[in-house]
């Protein structure tokens, strides 16, 4: 195995795993409607990175973090639903990107460039993935209770504002990482698909979490390897691998329930 493929696989496993894990929290409409728009915010960042010749991550990261904080602040100020605000931020992001992104260079922003990831970027990916994993693990129970009924969480003493912010920032980081693996257009799928597949086959919380992480990792590995042998772009293949796993989970579900 070449060193580059090794770096690619390691990054893919970490991004896929943590995206799958984070995705398991997106059970309510509010939660799941945020990731997509936030992911599209990666566009202007990627556009700037490409224009200035920066690392993709450096361009994307500030944009999604600022986007997350904007959504969070606006929600508290305007009391509008988070999904509405995310849609507005999303439109702003894509609109700006279309203005400044040289279309000829758009491919990297659209489908990612994980196969060209550097050792330093791999290290950053591992550290950030572990950080998000840790944060999500810490907030998990309370976020799940918020999924069930936000008032109950408030009464149990959960600071829902703080948890919403941590959740948005986690999405932002995973999105920034996901742009490497699959590009800005389909990063949200990286988060959403493994959890959906896992939900199909799980009865309880533990199996749901474990299988979502497993599906995320599996799709990444399968996508990276298949893309390497077929010379196709990695990002789309990772997502297609995820979709195939999802379809299989549906069949499995029909058999068991």
């Amino acid at each position: 195995m070449s060193y580059q493929l090794f770096l690619t696989l390691i990054s893919g496993v970490f991004i896929g795993g943590v995206a799958g894990y984070l995705g398991t929290l997106m059970l309510s409409k509010k939660m799941s409607a945020v990731a997509g728009p936030l992911a599209h915010l990666a566009f202007p960042g990627a556009a700037i990175a490409l224009l200035w010749g920066l690392s993709l991550f450096l361009g994307v990261f500030p944009f999604v973090i600022i986007g997350a904080i904007l959504i969070w602040t606006l929600e508290r100020k305007t009391k509008l639903p988070m999904e509405n605000l995310a849609a507005i931020i999303f439109a702003a992001g894509v609109g700006t990107a279309l203005l400044i992104l040289p279309i000829g260079k758009a491919e990297e922003a659209l489908v990612g460039n994980i196969t060209a990831i550097t050792p330093l970027e791999t290290l950053v990916t591992i550290i950030l993935s572990l950080l998000v994993f840790y944060v999500v693990r810490r907030v998990y129970k309370k976020m799940m209770l918020m999924n069930v009924y936000e008032d109950l969480a408030t009464i149990e003493g959960v600071n829902t504002n703080l948890y919403n912010l941590l959740y948005l920032l986690s999405i932002a980081i995973v999105v920034a990482l996901g742009v490497y693996l699959v590009g800005g257009l389909i990063t949200a799928a990286l988060i959403a698909i493994p959890a959906a597949s896992a939900k199909n086959i799980s009865k309880g919380l533990l199996s749901y979490k474990i299988s979502a992480v497993a599906f995320g990792i599996l799709a990444s590995i399968a996508g990276i390897i298949i893309a390497r042998f077929t010379q196709l772009p990695t990002g789309p293949i990772v997502i297609i691998a995820g979709v195939v796993l999802f379809l299989i989970s549906i069949i499995f579900r029909k058999k068991t329930f």
Binding site: L145, Y149, I155, K203, G204, L205
Partner: protein
């Protein structure tokens, strides 16, 4: 002569509400509401749909903005069973009943959970079933256990027996009554079951859409005349002793 009694009363005063006004989206829901609750009382909130019963609960719980005074004399440990926390929400969640109990701040051991499930009339094997696959009544019983297991000092129950079969409601209420006696709980209850109101309440607070309130002991409130004012139609009432 009245003085000592009065000071005793203020000592165990838990909640004082004065001139409470709550508006939602510009519409006045609660207007100039005043009442008091002492520790260990059961306050039943009575009124037609849309009178603001659930809004009152959510306001007292600090979930809604308001004008006026809500004075808790200590910060009690609160348990809340909201109305309509039904299975629709839980259906989509991959949570077993066991997982559901584990979401609590202080999660309980399985034996403890089983004990409380048994109290509300649920079998042990429910623990490993998907919460969303329970029947409506089973789910509601499970929620009652979920609220009680953390030993709250004050409980807000918003129609706790919705969807529970005949007799099942009785079971839940007599369970609540036992726990109330044992643990010196204060209970805030919304129910439409006048029998329950009569049997178990210390005080009744009635609300209606026209801002007509009444507050007092069930014997004072539960008469045909007052009920007519609150519900705007004749309510048959059978006197209890």
């Amino acid at each position: 002569m009245v003085k000592p009694l009065k000071s005793l009363n203020t000592n165990n005063m838990l909640l004082e509400v004065a001139n409470l006004n709550v508006s939602l989206n510009g519409e006045k829901i609660l207007e100039n509401l005043s009442f008091q609750v002492r520790q260990g009382e059961i306050l039943t909130v009575l009124g037609p749909n849309g009178a603001g019963k659930s809004v009152l609960f959510r306001t007292l719980l600090g979930l809604l903005p308001y004008e006026g005074t809500i004075q808790w004399n200590k910060k009690p440990k609160i348990g809340y069973l909201p109305q309509g926390l039904n299975q629709l929400r839980a259906k989509g969640l991959p949570l077993t009943v066991q997982d559901f109990f584990a979401l609590k701040n202080v999660s309980s051991r399985d034996e403890e959970t089983e004990k409380y499930l048994a109290l509300v009339g649920l079998e042990r094997d429910v623990l490993f079933k998907k919460a969303g696959s329970l029947s409506g009544g089973q789910f509601q019983r499970m929620l009652v256990a979920w609220v009680l297991i953390s030993h709250p000092e004050v409980i807000f129950f918003d129609e706790p027996t919705t969807g529970i079969d005949i007799g099942g409601g009785e079971t839940i209420y007599s369970l609540l009554h036992n726990i109330w006696e044992q643990e010196k709980l204060t209970i805030f209850l919304v129910t439409h079951d006048l029998n329950i109101v009569y049997k178990h309440s210390t005080n009744v607070l009635c609300l209606n859409r026209k801002g007509h309130h009444c507050f007092g002991a069930p014997k004072e409130i539960l008469n045909a005349e007052t009920l007519k004012k609150v519900f705007d139609k004749e309510i048959k009432i059978y006197e209890h002793n």
